[in-house]
Symmetry: C2
Subunit: 131 residues, 2 copies
């Protein structure tokens, strides 16, 4: 799918988000390149899967909701909404089981239909204000 370039970027992205929400980390190979940059740090797909595995561990009810989606052939931009209950710390903030609602504004670069760069900003300030 993603790797063969048959899918338009918006459809590919919605499938990627479904893959995350199904906790199908092995399925990410259809959407994410073997090596990528994350906020300008070079990581591997295995690292990326590890980050997500940690997120799912820290936030058992984590669900990715697409609020806005803008795409062209090279880039995808998404505003994601989260309404969830991190059990302990989330990104250095001691949430400790409180329900929080926050957003992530994130950009992706696509190479041959696969994500090979991510630039994410999460609204941690709004999480702090809810605690």
């Amino acid at each position: 799918m993603g790797s063969k370039g048959y899918t338009d970027p918006e459809t590919m992205y919605r499938q990627y988000i479904d893959c995350l929400n199904n906790r199908s980390l092995d399925g990410l190979t259809a959407f994410v390149a073997g090596s990528l940059t994350y906020n300008d740090s070079a990581i591997t797909l295995e690292d990326y899967q590890g980050l997500l595995r940690q997120n799912f561990h820290d936030i058992p009810d984590l669900c990715f909701n697409i609020s806005l989606l803008v795409a062209n052939n090279g880039h995808i931009a998404a505003r994601l909404k989260f309404d969830c209950t991190p059990t302990g710390e989330f990104m250095g903030i001691a949430v400790k089981g409180k329900r929080v609602v926050f957003h992530e504004n994130v950009f992706y670069h696509l190479k041959e239909g696969l994500i090979d760069a991510v630039w994410s900003v999460i609204d941690l300030e709004s999480i702090r204000k809810q605690l």
Copy 2:
């Protein structure tokens, strides 16, 4: 220009950023609707001009640099880079004249060629780490 819908969204957005970098707050009427929502709060164009005037006061060397730009007819998404020297507090953080580099990932909704909604997330965490 923006208001007559003759300009494609990317060109309009680059003109909007030039307008900001020229400190031409009166010129914003060509790009921003009279009433808009900013991170889901209803504000007026005058409020928006006031927010920017405050930013320019707090950060005399403020310059908006477009790192990424993704647009369609209804929405614009931009990753903006800032390399600047806030003189006092910026968004509650006491920067006090230190040079900081940070990003904003921001989405806009367009109505008849004018911005009528903004959803912004600024990477305040990276500012804190630089102090």
